[in-house]
């Protein structure tokens, strides 16, 4: 009878019914319909072996010999890598065990059967019901994932090895055994598999597939969307720039020049770019002029004795440079000729800031005095503007010459009316540090931006008609200069510690568009090219860098820029260093 059963081990249904009788809690009942016939390759021998084994069990049932013997088998057969005897519980009543064993041994898959064949002559292993169950689980697994098959063979062998000892187990003991096997082979217990697959079947999901989600969060939409307006939107969006036209700011310098011996002094103003596209820079005791058109450098003043250059400024027509000296002297030079036209005296300490308004040159000195000079006449000193008590380090005429803004080391910002220079029109005390950075807005005449020093870090925006402060930005670092773009509604600020960066701000939204780490030490001076596209910055790291931060869009040809744009670009390409 036994042989008949063994000969048809592959019938899943048969197996279920059998097992259902004895060990209901263990059997993965819903799954067994999936049970696949294993190829009955070596049928006749197993039956024989099993017959043998069963008879053997009785003899060796409680013996420890049984446990030793599989070890020896391992030595002989290298592919039996897993011993997995685990913790087989001690055999109890031999008689009872035999009866269950006979039942359970029938549906044995081929793998374990093969082992029985090998083992038969050594000792007679009795397959406990537990093996049958665990094998049932693995066999089912095999049908879904074929590559596991070799595993189950090992499984079988392991189970087998323990089988002699577990011959007469009660049901509970078998469960324990099962779990033990699972641990050893890191395979889901039949219960789990059955559960998973039954759940999967119920949900109509295949265990063969996984649902994968792309985990990174998608980018935020740039603005809220109303689909209603999208369905009947105008052909061309009125105000919003499409993403591809959105402005990108170049963050690497277009050109870097050496600026050796530049004086690291916040209060001086040593860099200016003329409307003829020439850059003048004061380096120690010398002034050099770099022509952006040709890229050539020409010394204008070399090694002025016993003093140093403290400020310089191009006249409005780009023909002359006014130079302020540490001695208080102001000189005016004709750049083309390379000759000094005149010297103007009057200040008794260094001239650190100056600004042209047509033929009027206004200079500010360390004492806080502001002098207005008419450079055409011999008696050049026309006005003295007194308000500051500290060194004047920022001085800027409005484009139309109607107002003058001055900032000083006394933390004061003054706005002067050109028709009444005796007293300032407004005095602003909002800054908490020296005010060097001053800039008049090119598209709104009465808008003035001022930036404070390292203790202040703010940029304030003023209405120069009413004197009201209209906006403020906390930049987080010393503001060393401010430049409005002529192309965009934007403002560039340069800063000192800690970032030594150039920041571009949108106005009036005051959004920081970009911050470019520009120099290795604080940016001292900046100026804009006549075409408004390039910002030049000079820093204490003795370099002069050119940044095309306000690059014009191709095609958007608002030709507000001065002449020589294209020439300048050529010149940039051919330019060389200042030294």
């Amino acid at each position: 009878m036994a042989t008949v059963d063994v000969c048809t081990p592959t019938k899943g249904r048969l197996f279920t019914t059998k097992t259902a009788g004895g060990r209901m809690p263990l059997t993965p009942s819903p799954k067994t319909s999936n049970y696949q016939p294993t190829p009955p390759s070596i049928h006749s021998t197993p039956t024989f072996a099993q017959a043998l084994s069963r008879s053997g069990v009785r003899k060796s049932a409680k013996s420890n010999i049984a446990r030793d013997s599989p070890r020896r088998l391992e030595l002989g057969l290298s592919d039996w890598t897993l011993t997995g005897t685990g913790t087989p519980s001690k055999p109890r009543s031999t008689q009872a065990g035999v009866s269950t064993a006979t039942q359970s041994s029938r549906p044995r898959p081929k793998s374990s059967v093969r082992i029985a064949y090998n083992a038969a002559d050594r000792f007679i292993p009795n397959r406990s019901a537990s093996e049958a169950i665990s094998n049932a689980g693995t066999a089912k697994l095999d049908t879904t994932t074929p590559k596991r098959r070799p595993r189950s063979a090992q499984d079988g062998s392991a189970v087998l090895s323990s089988s002699a000892a577990t011959a007469g187990l009660s049901l509970n003991d078998r469960t324990a055994d099962d779990e033990d096997d699972d641990k050893n082979y890191s395979k889901p217990s039949p219960n789990t598999v059955a559960y998973e697959s039954s759940i999967a079947n119920a949900c109509g999901v295949s265990l063969n597939t996984r649902i994968l989600a792309f985990k990174p969060a998608p980018p935020e939409s740039s603005k809220p969307i109303d689909l209603r307006s999208q369905y009947n939107r105008p052909l061309k969006p009125a105000n919003a720039l499409s993403a591809q036209l959105r402005r990108r700011i170049l963050t690497s310098p277009e050109r870097v020049l050496d600026a050796p011996n530049i004086v690291d002094d916040y209060y001086l103003n040593l860099l200016d770019w003329s409307c003829n596209n020439q850059v003048a820079i004061g380096l120690g005791q010398s002034v050099y002029v770099w022509s952006a058109d040709s890229g050539t450098v020409s010394p204008l003043i070399e090694d002025i004795p016993e003093t140093y250059i403290s400020s310089l400024k191009w006249s409005g027509d780009g023909a002359y440079v006014s130079v302020g000296l540490g001695s208080g002297e102001v000189q005016i030079w004709d750049v083309e000729e390379g000759t000094k036209l005149r010297s103007m005296f009057g200040h008794d300490s260094r001239v650190s800031a100056m600004s042209w308004n047509k033929h009027t040159l206004t200079t500010g000195s360390r004492t806080g005095a502001l002098h207005s000079h008419d450079v055409r006449i011999a008696q050049h000193h026309t006005n003295t503007l007194t308000a500051h008590t500290g060194e004047v380090c920022g001085l800027e005429w409005r484009q139309d010459g109607a107002q003058l803004a001055s900032g000083g080391n006394d933390n004061l910002v003054c706005i002067w009316d050109s028709r009444a220079l005796n007293t300032p029109k407004f005095q602003k005390t909002n800054h908490n540090a020296a005010v060097k950075a001053l800039a008049w807005c090119p598209w709104q005449l009465n808008l003035l931006a001022t930036g404070g020093g390292s203790h202040d870090r703010h940029i304030h925006f003023w209405n120069s008609t009413s004197g009201a402060r209209v906006n403020s930005i906390d930049t987080g670092s010393q503001v060393t200069s401010l430049r409005w773009s002529t192309q965009y509604k934007e403002l560039a600020s340069t800063s000192g510690f800690p970032d030594n960066s150039i920041s571009i701000w949108s106005y009036p939204s005051l959004v920081k568009n970009i911050e470019i780490p520009a120099h290795e030490s604080r940016v001292l001076h900046s100026c804009l090219s006549p075409d408004g596209q390039t910002l030049a910055t000079a820093a204490a790291d003795e370099s002069l860098k050119f940044w095309k931060v306000f690059e014009k869009k191709a095609g958007s040809g608002s030709s507000s820029a001065a002449a020589g744009v294209s020439k300048k670009v050529d010149g940039m390409a051919a330019a060389r260093t200042i030294r």
Binding site: T143, P146, S206, L207, N208, T209, R210, I211, L212, A213, F214, K215, P216, A217, P218, P219, E220, S221, S222, K223, P224, I225, D226, L227, R228, Q230, Y231, R233, P237, A240, L241, S242, A243, Q244
Partner: protein
């Protein structure tokens, strides 16, 4: 005779070419859905001529990069024949509720039924002879036309789909074979099904190796 043979050769697509068409279709589908369903502002999209239509693709750098990352992995899976579904889920940002689900079912003709080895389907060699449904030969133009009509349908579907309030985001899901290689950006997920959703089956298209069905499910308005 030989000329005819020559002709059929040129129009026959290899599995590789077929995967490329399907992957490209996915990319345009994602873009179209993002545009049509207002996940991103309309200004962020530019029109591109494709499938004989003006397809709108995102020109926002971040979105472009995001989709590119998805597509690069998708291409690999497609070539390996690992994918059975691609799903674009639109989720309400505030409530986290899934409001719309676009599902693209991929059938690979070479793929055997589950009982047989599923791994073999990745083999290019096996694909053609094993084909359970021998695909009728199609010219590229016919395939393009089929895809075109799907996009026309997707575009037209905004008329019956419920209004989205605009504050939405999206996720991409993939139903892949269990043995696929999964890069770190991808993780297991639930199906993100829509509860009590209405389903509308849209058109399909097929190449010599793939068939793609389109299905949109959406939440019914209360």
């Amino acid at each position: 005779m030989s000329a005819e043979k020559e002709k059929s050769k040129t129009h026959k697509l290899s599995l590789k070419g077929s995967s490329k068409i399907v992957a490209e279709f996915f990319e345009y589908s994602i873009n179209t859905i993002l545009f049509q369903r207002g996940v991103y502002p309309a200004e962020d999209f530019t029109a591109v001529k494709k499938y004989g239509l003006n397809m709108l693709v995102s020109s926002d750098d971040q979105v472009k990069a995001y989709i590119k990352k998805i597509m690069s992995q998708l291409n690999k899976w497609m070539l390996g024949g690992k994918i059975s579904k691609l799903v674009v889920v639109i989720t309400n940002k505030d409530t986290g509720e899934h409001v719309e689900r676009w599902q693209f079912d991929v059938q690979i003709f070479g793929k055997n039924s589950k009982s047989k080895s599923s791994r073999r389907s990745g083999d290019k060699e096996n694909a053609a002879p094993d084909a359970t449904e021998p695909a009728p030969e199609k010219t590229e133009q016919e395939i393009q036309n089929e895809i075109q009509s799907i996009f026309r349908q997707i575009t037209a579907s905004v008329t019956f789909l419920p209004m989205l309030d605009g504050n939405c985001t999206f996720n991409v899901l993939v139903y892949a074979d269990a043995d696929s290689d999964v890069p770190i950006e991808w993780g297991d997920s639930d199906a993100k099904e829509i509860k009590n959703g209405e389903k509308v089956q849209l058109r399909s298209f097929s190449t010599s190796n793939h068939r793609v069905d389109t299905l949109v499910s959406y939440r019914l308005g209360e």
